[in-house]
Amino acid sequence: MISKFEWNRRSFIKGAAVLGAAPLLPGGSMAQQQSDPSQQIPEGQVPKKPLGHTGVQVSAMGLGGYHLGSAETDQAAMEIVAKAFDHGVTFFDNAWEYHDGLSEERVGKALKGKRDQAFVMTKVCTHGRDKKIAMRMLEESLRRLQTDHLDLWQVHEVVYENDPDLIFAPNGVAEALVAAKQQGKVRFIGFTGHKDPEIHLRMLSHDFPFDTVQMPLNCCDATFRSFETQVLPEATRRGIAALGMKSLGGSGELVRHGAVAPGEGLRYAMSLPVATTISGVDTMQVLDQNLKVAVNFEPLAAAEMQALRNQCRFLASDGRLELFKMTTKYDGKVGREQHHFPTTEELPI
């Protein structure tokens, strides 16, 4: 098992030096935070990794767009983006439907002047509707993101059993992906979903030229309805870049229920053969925790990964910590509407 306090040598030395220098002020939370070596982000950058066969490199950690919309103020979100960027995060996730556009607006504002150095993704939220609606959403996303093109445009939340059929129906959103790419409005295309590896495999079986596929990857997933064992190898085989998400269960379920320490969970996800691991950040504290793992990241050894899978096996076995697979908790409002499902209030889980 990997210790929660296993830091690389440089961060340990740096942290220890600060600890030695700072006066110990019990009760002073700021002082405690400053003197806590675990709060120190090592010098260096988040490493870059190839995005499948695209020839493009992206940061090994991506900044999740949903939680940027949950940050308390625009200012707080700007600061999160700026700091992440300074430490080498170039991959910015988003979706047309997050916080009714607020998440996209915030990223657009925060990346002003830095657009060309960033890899900007957002997702289209047709949820079964046609190409025309998709293209309208694309224009709205571009406007909110204050850019003339996206680096990656993905079909959002492919989680309902009939979604693949609807996506590939004549005049469906798959045609919009192709058109947008042809028009130069998006460089790469993909899809996302958090529910069922079988749905992902059905999507891939269409042999559509996806550049990316986004999926939940964490140390519980490894042994339960597993994207890691069923979808990841298939994506790799096809040369499609895998984008990991929900490394701690979506709302930190894996950590809250004691399956893993946060650093461990994140390191596990980032050590898989993925292009990036998208992680939600709504406060500076969370960003710092993430950067501590991601800056100068080095993958876990195979034996360490197996130890984490074993450690999580019991809690993984009924899906209790992966509620996105087992319940409607993480199914968004627009998708529910389009599929005539009860609202979040009516059917929370």
Partner: protein
Amino acid sequence: MPQSSSGTIPLRKFGRADAKVSALGFGGHHLGEAPDAKTAIEMIHQAVDGGITFYDNCWEYRRGKTEVWMGAGLKGRRDKVFLMTKTCPHGRDGSLALQMLEESLHRYQTDHLDLWQVHGMGFDNDPELFIRKDGAAEALERAKKDGKVRFVGFTGHKNPKVHLAMLNTGFPFDAVQMPLNAFDATFTRSFERDVLPELTKRGIAVLGMKPLSGHGDAIKRGVITAEESLRYAMSLPGVTTTITGIDSLNVLHQNLQIAQNFTPMTESEMNALRDRCKPDAADGRYEVYKLSLRFDNPEARLAHGFPLDTQQSEVKDMLGAQENTGHPWPEKQF
């Protein structure tokens, strides 16, 4: 609506066993929606007189209320019916399941059950937890050997794969309960397609449930009528009984009328109905019991470490039980 004071409902053979049950079964959960014990008892009396012999229930429904009401309704009529309830260890030990059996027998005021089933097999690890040493499988065996139950089975509404894994444990089940309706028929997770033929092959009694797909939303939206739904489920080749929720005398009378005049749908009628329901079946919108925790009781959620839902009737009952009424005796006993 005619009062079906007496009538007959077709009887069907209970799997390979030497027993017969009515083609329509009385679902225990909805009995708890009756306004009071008196109405519930009247519903049971009329159901027995109307020809329903199969009575469904469960240890964890409404914190015991539905078993108590059903038991009261069946007083003096016990021998006319085929009485079932379910036990709710949800992966915990067989000894717990046996304690629940004693409570159920006490609430029912009877010394034996015709059928005792393990409730709510829906999580991927349930089969493994069921068949393990000291698991619920040993309780089923014990209860049967002790003569406290005639037959044993399991139920679940979530995933055909879990049902098949339960069958593959090799345990000798007499009955299996599962959702069977015109939406299930064409959904990717279909009990009709994947589990029903396997049960028929093994000679296990097939107990259909959720003929109106749980809450009847499809009926409210006009996709299908109640009569079509019920007739479809009852017409499936191989099905032993179709358990349907009955929460009022009115609903009882409607069901009795359909069941007493039951003629099976033809294969082409059934196909036409499957085709009509197919577009709405494709994403599971009317079968949320397969895709959410809505129909998973707190006992199951707690045993498996899932969150509770305060909107659920059983959770409301649990919370209600903390009230201090200040009365040493309940004002009304259930």
